[in-house]
Symmetry: C2
Subunit: 295 residues, 2 copies
């Protein structure tokens, strides 16, 4: 048999294949850990020790510049006194209650009125989101604000097509069952009813003036925190929204809205007034003692 | 040679190993996609089409219960009219400006006063975070509030030990260089100075009464959005905080604070008043036109 004659080559070939594959996976793993972007770990932020030892001496500012690494923020960034006005305790207690009562009225809304909303309010809301903290102050967000009826229609077509596949195939029975009481499906009228859609894109990195990559540490968390600011601002201004995650629609929407490939669609929020006959699920929110542990 | 005699066994063994390995990886990949929890994709939420076709007919509520799948929320969850009070446009514009001005004063603070803060304010702030939206209303958060000096001291020791390794080895030169203008290092006095530490844990899943797993869709994003609410509430009540991510400290802190293994540490926020001589980096925030694109 041919095999009996050529078996050494076959064995060597198999051995090489296994070795190359294992090495590649290991190399990719090391690369990701070095950049601090290892998402494979469920345990948030856990990095294994790398073999590379960096002698970063916090007093020697010039060491990294000798390597040609320039910080993303100015090296000579000044630190200035923090301008703080203390609020008396009794007033602070009342304010904290007031803010909770206001935010507790916030509900996710899926039936929007077509009534227009002043653009100035939306601009202030987005500016508020821009005040959020971000990893190493990278501000890794782009807010795409859509009010054009044609663009909203195209967005709706893209999303409904993907969502039908999500609901009927991808999401699986457990997920769709968990959503049933919320009465959601792949028909998304709010995408054309609401006067505005805010598509939140997160920048996975950006480019500096010299063409080098500027890393955006914790860009997912930063953008989600900023979305929390956005939702609070929406509620404060008396508007409503829906925090939606259009599964599998990212690339098509990114292309439609001409965003570059370093940006990923994080969330889509319609914003406006609720429909007159708007219904919401009669949900229960956990009490403080169900979410709080004290030491 | 022994090899020349036993090579068929060796070859078969290698072949079996490769086949088992490839099948296992493929199976795990399918499992994760079916649960909608495939985190390996940088492209947020992208799921590949599974081979499993679910004939989910939105009218037939009984189909999933025949399979024994019970939704996490009650199947007969009522939908009720949304109680909404419209704010006149002029007032809404003014409110949106006011909220932006207030939030724009928020700064991340690293030097805290030891002055105590009324517990009631902190409770209201955490209740506010609990009003955030979450995937399928799973509310996947646990807030651990630490005020005990001994526990804060232990937390500080755990974190400083890990952070020294982070700064000197794990994070790498680019990351530590990007942080230099912010003047951070592994010494974290705020962990014992601030009157309160809020450790935000995200629940990756929970257990239902019948012992089945309740999946927590988008728990990372949900908890980060809730953290945005927390930070807004902190600012509104006239307090300050720092959004910190203690790299590699999750398991040790989880054990110390007696949280179960389905919970992962997401963020740690000291809360209190700033020190009298508190300094902040003289940072620039992007303007609206740098973060907004309109269609």
């Amino acid at each position: 048999m041919l095999f009996e004659e050529y078996w050494p080559y076959f064995v060597v070939g198999l051995f090489l294949y296994v070795t190359v594959r294992v090495s590649y996976v290991f190399y990719k793993g090391l690369q990701k850990r070095n950049m601090g972007l290892d998402k494979k770990n469920e345990d948030f932020g856990k990095l294994n020790r790398t073999n590379q030892v960096n002698d970063v001496d916090m007093d020697k500012d010039s060491s990294s510049e000798e390597d040609g690494i320039i910080p993303a923020l100015p090296s000579d960034l000044k630190h200035i006194p923090f301008n703080f006005e203390k609020i008396p305790e009794e007033i602070a207690i009342a304010k904290s209650e007031e803010f909770f009562e206001m935010m507790n009225k916030r509900r996710t809304v899926r039936q929007f009125s077509k009534q227009p909303v002043p653009l100035e309010i939306i601009h202030n809301i987005i500016k508020t989101a821009g005040t959020a903290p971000s990893g190493a102050h990278t501000e890794p967000w782009t807010y795409v604000l859509v009010s054009s009826p044609q663009t909203k229609q195209t967005i709706r077509e893209i999303i409904e097509e993907e969502e039908e596949i999500n609901y009927t195939r991808r999401m699986g029975k457990v997920w769709t069952t968990d959503l049933k009481p919320l009465r959601t499906n792949w028909v998304k009228e709010y995408l054309t009813d609401a006067p505005y859609l805010i598509l939140v894109f997160r920048q996975t990195y950006s480019l500096r003036d010299n063409g080098n990559k500027k890393l955006h540490y914790y860009n997912e968390q930063s953008v989600s925190i900023a979305t929390g600011f956005l939702l609070a601002a929406i509620q404060y201004a008396g508007l409503v929204s829906l925090t939606s995650t259009p599964l599998n629609c990212g690339p098509a929407l990114r292309t439609l809205l001409e965003r570059p490939t370093n940006e990923k669609l994080a969330l889509l929020l319609p914003v406006g007034y609720p429909a007159d006959d708007c219904l919401v699920p009669d949900l229960y929110r956990k009490s403080l003692k169900e979410i709080l542990v004290e030491f």
